[in-house]
């Protein structure tokens, strides 16, 4: 069979900045060369992109994978018998194998391509949930969930008469209390769905421990890995979850594609999500039969170029080393938290140490939107708002926060510049 010509990530990586320092300490600032977008001025100032929790920037290797696919191999998958279709199919399925390896899944059949984290969770809620969640059952979430890990369960609860229960956090520090978990794991809980890393608080949850304790009671588990997938090694067997959802665009990949991992036996018992082409074995006017997982969950023409570019993104991240990225992430998070904590009239959210590389804060007397507007004029891209965490904001008693979120191409020098801008903002608003 024809080899997919588009996939030479190892070879490509050797030409990029990342792989030149496999064994040496990573010169993080040097990696910026791989990201064309970072080299620009905004409002006359060098761009300082600190909105990585919303979406990361893309390295040249990923951008090239996209254009190479469209320039050389584009065809629909699983349908044609011609050369281009063979290539596209092989590359698409190679991306599935790569994703399985990236997550240490037992098999590529446990990898479903979705539009992103949101669709992954909705798939589980709509397909698995509709079959297995009944009136009176409880779905256990945490108070720090993103709307995409709340609303699908609310819709399911409305349809089935199930009830949502939330594991509490301990105020601004944003930590769950593992000591409380047992009292919440009652016999009517059927599912525990929780985030690995909070996009507002930077909390890193001990998901392996939570999954193990849930599993001992026969509770199915889902992990929202949107914020962790590109920032640290992920091993679904070590975490022990039944489902795990991620978005490519937060981990150097393109928008419009993500992965839902599902434990083999869970996927087998789960009915299809959407109906259409690609997912069927045979269709009669009144009845159809469908393929095995993962194909029964992938109706219609998939995001082929997205999967291929995600493949390149995973290669890029592993070229640097996700353990190193995680270490750098911790350092940036701790550094920024410490520097900001030294300012007067600032409220910081999330744990001071052991936090992910993002910091949410509020300045006394200055609204988050005003912080973001002034920072933007200084070339610093921040986020201000509720970060799709409205229930969490209510719990914290705030309407919004300002957030700086880092990625491996950020440096402590950049954080110094960011903190300097925060100082100026305080001065500007006279606080």
């Amino acid at each position: 069979m024809a080899q997919p010509l588009i996939l030479e990530p190892e070879i490509k990586l050797n030409t990029s900045a990342s792989s030149r320092r496999q064994t040496q300490p990573v010169a993080w600032a040097y990696l910026r060369e791989d990201f064309p977008i970072l080299d620009q001025k905004v409002h006359g100032q060098p761009l300082l992109y600190l909105d990585n929790a919303a979406t990361s920037q893309k390295p040249r290797a990923v951008i090239d994978a996209l254009s190479r696919y469209y320039e050389r191999d584009n065809a629909n998958v699983h349908r044609g018998i011609h050369e281009l279709s063979n290539r596209a199919t092989a590359a698409f399925e190679a991306a599935r194998v790569r994703a399985a390896k990236f997550l240490n899944a037992r098999s590529a059949d446990e990898i479903i391509f979705t539009r992103g984290t949101t669709e992954g969770i909705n798939l589980v809620a709509a397909a698995w949930g509709a079959k297995f969640i009944k009136r009176g059952d409880k779905i256990l979430l945490t108070e720090m969930e993103h709307h995409s890990n709340i609303v699908p369960w609310q819709l399911l609860a409305e349809r089935t008469g199930a009830q949502l229960v939330f594991l509490p956090i301990n105020g601004d520090r944003g930590l769950l209390d593992p000591g409380q978990l047992d009292e919440f794991l009652t016999s009517d809980v059927k599912l525990l769905a929780m985030t690995h890393i909070s996009n507002s608080l930077g909390t890193i949850n001990p998901v392996a421990e939570y999954c193990e304790r849930a599993r001992q009671r026969g509770i199915v588990t889902l992990i929202d890995a949107a914020q962790s997938a590109g920032h640290r090694p992920l091993d679904v067997q070590q975490i022990g979850c039944d489902f795990l959802a991620l978005s490519a665009h937060k981990m150097c990949g393109p928008t419009g594609i993500g992965v839902l991992y599902g434990r083999g036996e869970r996927l087998e018992e789960t009915p299809p999500y959407q109906g259409g082409g690609e997912m069927i074995l045979s269709v009669d006017f009144h009845r159809s039969t469908w393929k095995q997982a993962p194909h029964k969950f992938e109706a219609g023409t998939p995001d082929i170029s997205g999967a291929i570019a995600l493949h390149a993104a995973m290669d890029y991240l592993d070229g640097i080393g996700r353990d190193r990225i995680a270490q750098h992430d911790l350092e940036l998070g701790a550094y920024a938290f410490e520097k900001l904590a030294a300012l007067k009239g600032i409220r910081l959210f999330g744990p001071p140490i052991g936090r992910a590389g993002l910091v949410s804060f509020l300045l006394d007397g200055v609204h988050a939107h005003d912080v973001v507007t002034v920072a933007d004029q200084r070339g610093v891209a921040l986020r201000g708002g509720h970060h799709c965490n409205q229930p969490l904001m209510k719990k914290l008693g705030v309407e919004s926060t300002a957030r700086a979120s880092f990625y491996f191409y950020n440096t402590t020098e950049e954080i110094d510049r960011f903190v300097e801008v925060v100082r100026e903002i305080k001065k500007f608003f006279g606080t």
Partner: protein, 153 residues
């Protein structure tokens, strides 16, 4: 280099956001409306006492960014003692001002909102209290939201 910023946050705006005028509940209000921006959590209630077609008293309460708060404060200052027709007219002028920067006639202190038009993401903040005002004087007494901006603008 920061001309745009000082255009947006003119001294008058900063002053009104820190010390908003008519910032209270109006106990004998016969018109109220709420304005919210669900994206950033801005949330204001406007209170008006309307007698015939005259806005006798007007006040507001709530929280939000410097731009929305200053805009609400300036609104209450400029509308007291005006007719509903004048209020609608002023709404249109302010709408033009914050979306295009064009000033059509004299709007007094409200001219301080002109800098907003260079910040597309902040237009909603400036105009939110005005939408709430229109809902209030038209007696709709409902919540207006920036996220139905199509209807609103």
């Amino acid at each position: 280099m920061f001309d745009d910023l000082t255009d947006l946050y003119q001294q008058l705006i900063l002053d009104h956001s820190k010390g908003p005028r008519n910032f209270r509940v109006l106990p004998d209000a016969n018109r109220t409306a709420q304005g919210t921006n669900p994206i950033c959590g801005d949330n204001y209630t406007l209170y008006a006492k309307v007698d015939g077609d005259m806005v006798k008293e007007i006040s507001f309460q709530g929280s939000g960014c410097a731009i929305s708060k200053a805009s609400a404060s300036l609104l209450t200052e400029s509308l007291k003692g005006r007719t509903i027709a004048e209020a609608k007219n002023l709404f249109n002028k302010v709408h033009d001002l914050v979306t295009t920067g064009n000033l059509d006639g004299d709007v007094g202190k409200l001219a301080a909102l002109a800098g907003v038009h260079k910040f597309p993401a902040r237009v909603k903040c400036a105009i939110l209290p005005w939408h709430a005002l229109m809902a209030a004087v038209e007696g709709k007494g409902e919540t207006v939201s920036t996220e139905t901006e199509k209807e609103l603008s």
